[in-house]
Amino acid sequence: MRQGATGFTAAAGTQRAPGRVGTLLLAPLVAWALLFVVAPAAIMLVYSFLERGTLGGVLWERATLENYAGVGNPVYLRIVLRSILYAGITTALCLAAGYPVAYLIGRANLRYRNLLLMAVMIPFWTSFLIRTYAWVTILKSQGFLNSSLLALGLIDQPFEMLYTPGAVIVGLVYTFLPFMILPIFTSVEKLDGALIEAALDLGAGPLRAFSRVIVPLTSPGISAGVLLVFVPALGIYAVNDILGGGRVDMIGNIIENQIKGNARNWPFGAALGTALLFSFAVAYYYVNRRQRVAEGRA
């Protein structure tokens, strides 16, 4: 029998039971998850039930639910809804803008593909702060964009772009586009050209081949991309702070304020974080479960 520890002979859609070797190999991952994921999350959870200390931090005297009561306050709910709106718009724009790019890179031949990937990633090896401030330079009333538009005669007064919700969206899309492109790229890359040809042979026009065959086949990449953009976008606070002039407060800003700002209310920040985390953990678990069922892994 040529089945060793790597258990290579299983066919697609079926998996083996772990056995001792399988469990042992997974141990490092489990240990990591327990130590550096569960433990900090547990700390956050515990803190959310405590009272704030005078200098920040927490008091260990008694447990309370008042922090969660605070989460439901309309002041913060409004901001939560706004965060969801901005994150949603950003995700949609990233998907629309990023899919064609990911598709092109995925279908390109090897040499161009790697060059294009690097081309996409290189801007993000500069500091995030500097990039965002570069956008300030571009969007401000005496900035690059306005100067160019004025010079081209397309407008006669500087257009107010900076410190608006639009600027925030531009900044967010800019920050998260690679997070959408890369997962979709990996999906596109493994597309079998034969399938596409078959679709075309059977009479589908390119557009139909695209929407009926290609897009559904790349859905794991799309889901991954959506998750990787939407969720972090909810927690962001620096981009909207800088490009929105501090007027577009999102959940991330509120939480930051509790811990790093004047409020010195860690338990409340922890409660907000836990609420955020919990909703998404639940949503992710169910989406993931459906995905695994579809792939035959559940």
Binding site: Q15, L26, P40, M44, G98, I130, A134
Partner: protein, 257 residues
């Protein structure tokens, strides 16, 4: 399909323009005479000179590179192994484990940073390279794992069977068939991990020490005074080195093939 491909190529060009516009501006301003990144006043190389002499900034660059490299390597190992194990074996807690692994991507950075700080203090781990790398890996390796998982989902088992039929040992089959197949996903995951680590600010703030301060920390410190162009200069240098490395690699590859 060619008109769609051409359309997409044009669109990609526009997207790349979008990506590089701020980069072009920041490179341009690294040669600007004025300290404030506001108006062009004249050409100078002073900021590059200042950069060279700024030992704090250069040490930060070194720290960032060390941390990013280590974090990427660990992330690739953990992420690939995790993805493959979850694909190969049917663990009962698979769903739970996957959710846990992706949790750090959901937790707001401030909270992750503070929690990890508290954790490190509790287990008596001193702040330094180790703590930074651990924190980075925690939110980086899920990306590698996700990328590799997506790719594994389309793995054709007949590939592996063919290798084994041709007399390869399972280990050989793993490294000579599976890993090359996974390479695009590993590379894309590794790229993502490296980028995330290089650029992280908040979590690093809470888990770094003064001597291991990374570039984003040092840059953030300078925001108050106004980001002076030596910071643009360092970004330009980093980009320059990368692009140069790319060109050299390409040239060498062409010569070899």
């Amino acid at each position: 399909m060619s008109w769609i491909t051409r359309l997409f190529a044009g669109w990609t060009g526009l997207v790349l323009l979008f990506f590089y516009l701020p980069i072009a501006i920041l490179i341009l301003f690294s040669f600007n005479e004025s300290r404030l990144n506001i108006q062009w006043t004249g050409f100078t190389l002073d900021w590059y000179v200042k950069l060279w002499r700024d030992h704090v900034l250069m040490r930060a660059v070194k720290n960032s590179l060390i941390v990013a490299t280590c974090a990427t390597v660990v992330s690739v190992v953990l992420g690939t192994a995790g993805a493959w194990l979850l694909h190969r074996y049917r663990y009962r807690a698979a769903g739970l484990l996957e959710t846990l692994v992706f949790l750090p991507m959901i937790v707001p950075e401030v909270i992750l940073g503070v929690s990890l700080l508290i954790l490190f203090v509790q287990i008596g781990l001193q702040l330094g390279y180790t703590t930074i790398v651990i924190s980075h890996v925690t939110f980086c390796f899920p990306f590698v794992m996700a990328a590799v998982q997506a790719r594994l989902a389309g793995l054709d088992p007949s590939l592996e069977e063919a290798a084994l039929d041709l007399g390869a040992t399972p280990l050989q089959a793993f490294f000579k068939v599976l890993v090359p197949y996974l390479m695009p996903a590993i590379v894309s995951g590794a790229l993502m991990a490296f980028t995330l680590s290089l650029d992280d600010l908040i979590v690093t703030y809470f888990t770094a020490s003064a001597r291991t301060a990374t570039l984003p920390l040092v840059i953030f410190g300078k925001v108050k005074k106004g980001l002076d162009p030596s910071l643009n200069a360092i970004s330009t240098v980093l980009i320059g080195v990368t692009v140069l490395a790319l060109f050299v690699t390409e040239a060498l590859r062409k010569r070899n093939s």
